[in-house]
Amino acid sequence: MVPITTLHYLVVAAALFVLGVIGVLTRRNVVIVLMSIELILNAVNLNLVAFSRMWGNLHGQLFAIFIVVDAAAEAAVGLGILIAFFRNRETINVDEIDLLKW
């Protein structure tokens, strides 16, 4: 069997990233859009950790940890906005959230 190299991990990460992008671009449900963003962040983390192993130092892992922190903050604030919005408009569909247009 082919040994597992960094490239393998990158391919997995790329796949997750593209899936996340598809989710962000096409789904209507805000919650799922946020989950897709988590997917994207995970793909990035996977890349960082893979490179961390490739170069034999830990900076990539540290960045991954910081990104996890960021993701937690993003989820908290995003979901907070969502709940506040839902309370006002009774909807969680992205394409009905278009107040910015005006």
Binding site: M1, P3, I4, T5, T6, L7, H8, Y9, L10, V12, A14, A15, L16, F17, V18, L19, G20, V21, I22, L25, T26, R27, R28, V31, I32, L34, M35, S36, E38, L39, N42, L46, A50, S52, R53, M54, W55, L58, H59, Q61, L62, A64, I65, F66, V68, V69, D70, A71, A72, A73, A75, A76, V77, G80, L82, I83, E90, I92, N93, D95
Partner: protein, 187 residues
């Protein structure tokens, strides 16, 4: 996480297992991802995302990053996903399950994403030679200590990332406050 996998990593006794587990975890992750973006029901999506997150945690373990894996499990699977499930339940509306899943511009989005995938694939194909066949081996046993040293420093010295770490904690605090203020009806 899995004794068999650990043994394969540590002793190099059964290298056959590594590709097997890699493909298994990678497959789980990707299948989970596909389910996340296709399920109609948000709870199903969340469950699928949990599977993906756990599989990615497994991949971290294979990459000799047990601490990141642990953080991934605690923060993502144990924390963020519970939050997601909570919110899904709070905003659970019947009509969302009967409506269209995708927005009107979905073909455009899909095309863009496919273009992105093509870009990635071509980039990988072009740069394949840059990647070494064998990866460096990180010592697993001291991973946590090294991360701690870089985060907090040692023997009275600031670590390389101490300041960034404090800023991150501040960011979290701000996020908590923001979320609470936005969500509470009466402050």
């Amino acid at each position: 996480m899995n004794p068999v996998m650990n043994s394969a990593l540590n002793s190099g006794m059964a290298p056959v297992a590594t590709p097997f587990f890699f493909y298994m975890l990678a497959g789980l992750a990707v299948i989970g991802g596909v389910l996340v973006i296709t399920r109609r029901n948000a709870v199903h999506s969340a469950l699928a995302l949990i599977v993906t997150l756990l599989a990615v945690a497994g991949l971290y373990l294979m990459l000799y990053a047990p601490f990141v894996a642990g953080v991934q499990i605690i923060v993502y699977a144990g924390g963020i996903m519970v939050l997601f499930l909570f919110v899904i339940m709070l905003v659970n509306i019947e009509r969302s399950s009967k409506e269209r899943r995708f927005n009107r511009m979905w073909p455009v989005g899909l095309a863009a994403a496919c273009a992105l995938l093509a870009l990635f694939v071509s980039a990988f194909a072009k740069g394949k030679a840059l990647f070494p066949d064998r990866m460096m081996t990180l010592p697993e046993s001291s991973n946590t200590q090294q991360i701690a040293t870089m985060l907090y420093g040692e023997a009275g010295r600031m670590g390389q990332y101490t300041f960034a770490f404090e800023i991150a904690s501040l960011l979290l605090l701000v996020a908590i406050l923001g979320a609470v203020i936005m969500t509470k009806k009466k402050i």
